[in-house]
C-alpha cells in the first residue's frame, strides 16, 4: 500500500533494530521518515521539521516518552515551534490498563503495546492521519506575496526576508491560518499571549501596528484593523 500524500512520520525509538525495521516498513509504504533515538532529538525534529505524526517509544534513554507527549501538548503552537495538534502514537513495552490510561491522559492519540503487528500499526497510523486531515496544515503558508514558513520561522515578502519578533511571528501565523477571517482581540490575546481573561488590548494593538509596518515596506496592507472587533490578514498588494 502506498500513501499518496507522503505524510511525514517521526519515529522516536531508542532500540536500533526496532527503529530501523519500523522505518524500513514505513518508507516502503510511501511515508517520509524522520528518526530520533532520544527525546531531545525527537523534540528538536518536531520543532524544525513539523512531522504529520509521531510514533514515540515510552522508554527513552533521556526521559519518558510520556513527558515528550506532554511537552508537545503543552506547546502553544505559536511562540513555540511545536505543533500541539500533531497526532501522537505511543509505543510501549508496558501493556497494563494503568499504563495505557497514563498515556492517554498525557495526550497520546493512540497506544500500541509491543510486540505489535506491523499491518495493525500501519492501520492505526492511517486512521490517525485520516482523522487529523481536517486540521490546518503546518507547512508553508502563503498569502499573496507573503510567505510564512513555520518550520524555519521565516517570513519573506517577495523573496525578501522580514525580521519579526516571536510574538509578531505568532500573531502573523495565527492570522494566516485563516486569511480574511476577522480574529477578535479576545481570541488573539488568548491564543497568542495565553491571556485567560480579556485585559488591556494595548499589547496586541502595539504588536499588530509593528507587524503592519514591517509588512508594508512596499506599501502593501496585509494586516487590517477591523475597528472595535479585531484583526484580519488580507492579500493587500499595493495598487
Amino acid at each position: 500500500m502506498q500513501y499518496d500524500d507522503n505524510a511525514t512520520i517521526l519515529v522516536v525509538e531508542d532500540d536500533d533494530a526496532t527503529r530501523t525495521f519500523l522505518a524500513d516498513n514505513l518508507t516502503a509504504d510511501g511515508f517520509e521518515l524522520l528518526v530520533a533515538d532520544c527525546a531531545k532529538d525527537g523534540i528538536c525534529l518536531m520543532e524544525t521539521k513539523y512531522p504529520d505524526l509521531a510514533l514515540i517509544d515510552v522508554g527513552l534513554p533521556d526521559g519518558s516518552g510520556l513527558d515528550l507527549v506532554r511537552r508537545v501538548r503543552d506547546a502553544d503552537g505559536l511562540a513555540s515551534r511545536v505543533d500541539p495538534r500533531t497526532p501522537l502514537l505511543l509505543l510501549s513495552g508496558r501493556d497494563s490498563e494503568l499504563d495505557r490510561i497514563r498515556g492517554f491522559e498525557r495526550g497520546a492519540d493512540d497506544y500500541v503495546c509491543k510486540p505489535f503487528s506491523y499491518p495493525e500499526l500501519r492501520g492505526r497510523v492511517a486512521a490517525l492521519l485520516r482523522r487529523s486531515g481536517q486540521r490546518p496544515r503546518t507547512g508553508r503558508l502563503r498569502v499573496g506575496d507573503l510567505t510564512i514558513d513555520p518550520a524555519s520561522r521565516e517570513v519573506t515578502m517577495r523573496e525578501t526576508r522580514v525580521d519579526l519578533s516571536a510574538k509578531e511571528f505568532a500573531l502573523l501565523r495565527t492570522l494566516a491560518t485563516e486569511p480574511t477571517r476577522v480574529f477578535t482581540k479576545e481570541e488573539l490575546l488568548r491564543g497568542v499571549w495565553g491571556f485567560r481573561s480579556m485585559g488591556t488590548t494595548r499589547t496586541l494593538d502595539s504588536h499588530a501596528c509593528r507587524l503592519r509596518k514591517k509588512l508594508s515596506v512596499h506599501g502593501d496592507q496585509f494586516v487590517m484593523n477591523v475597528w472595535g472587533v479585531g484583526y484580519r490578514l488580507v492579500d493587500g498588494v499595493a495598487g
Binding site: D15, A17, T18, F21, D24, N25, D95, F116, S117, Y118
Partner: protein, 229 residues
Amino acid sequence: MTIAGWVVALVLTGLAAYLDRRARRRAELVARACHELRGPLTAAGLALYAAGRRSEAPPRRIAAVDLQLRRAELALTDLALAPSGGRARDRLETLKVATLLQAEAESWREVAWAHGCDLVLAEPVPDVVVRADGRRLSQAAGNLIANALEHGAGAVRLGARIDGDRVRIEVSDDGPGLAAPIAALSRPRGARGRGLAIVSDVARRSGGALQSAPSARGARLVIELPAAS
C-alpha cells in the same frame, strides 16, 4: 498466654510482610524480563515483515516464522499475567488445519533434520476447519512435534483427518512409544511433563481432548477438536 498471643501475632505479621515483599520482588523480576523480551520480539516481527515484502524468503517460510513469533508473543503475555494468576485471552478464529500444519512442518523441518529425523506432512485433508486460537493450537502442535523429535526416532508424521464431527490432528513417531498412560504423562513431573500438560490444556479449552491412539510402533498422539463449519 497474652504474651504468647502477641508473639504469634508478631511472627505472623512479619511472615506476611516477608512473603509480600518476596511476591512483589518476583513480580517485578517477571515484569522486567517481559519488558526485555518485547523489544527483540518487536524487532524480529518488523524484520520478518520487511523480509516478506522484499521476497527475501519463500512465503511459506515467512508464514512459519511468523507463527512461531506469535507463539512466543503469546507465551510472553502468559508470563506477564502469571503473577496475577491470569493468562492471555484466547482469540478464537476459524482455522484451516492444513494451513496450520503446513506452517508447523515448515518451522520444524530443520530441527527434525538436526535430530536425524524426517518430518513428514501427510497429504492434508482439504477444507478441514476448527474454531480455535491459532497461536494456542500452534503451541499444542509444536509441543507434540518437539516431544516426538526428542523421544521418538525415524520418521515423525504430522497429519489431520476428519472423523464425523471431530477433527483429529495426529503426530506419530517410530520411537519406543509412550512410557505411561497419557493422563499420567500430562501431569507435570518436576521439570518434565509440561509440554503434554500444555497440549492437554489447549485441547480442553478448545472443546476437545488430547488422546493417544493405537500404533504398530512408536507413539501416536491425537488432538481431537470439534470440526467447525
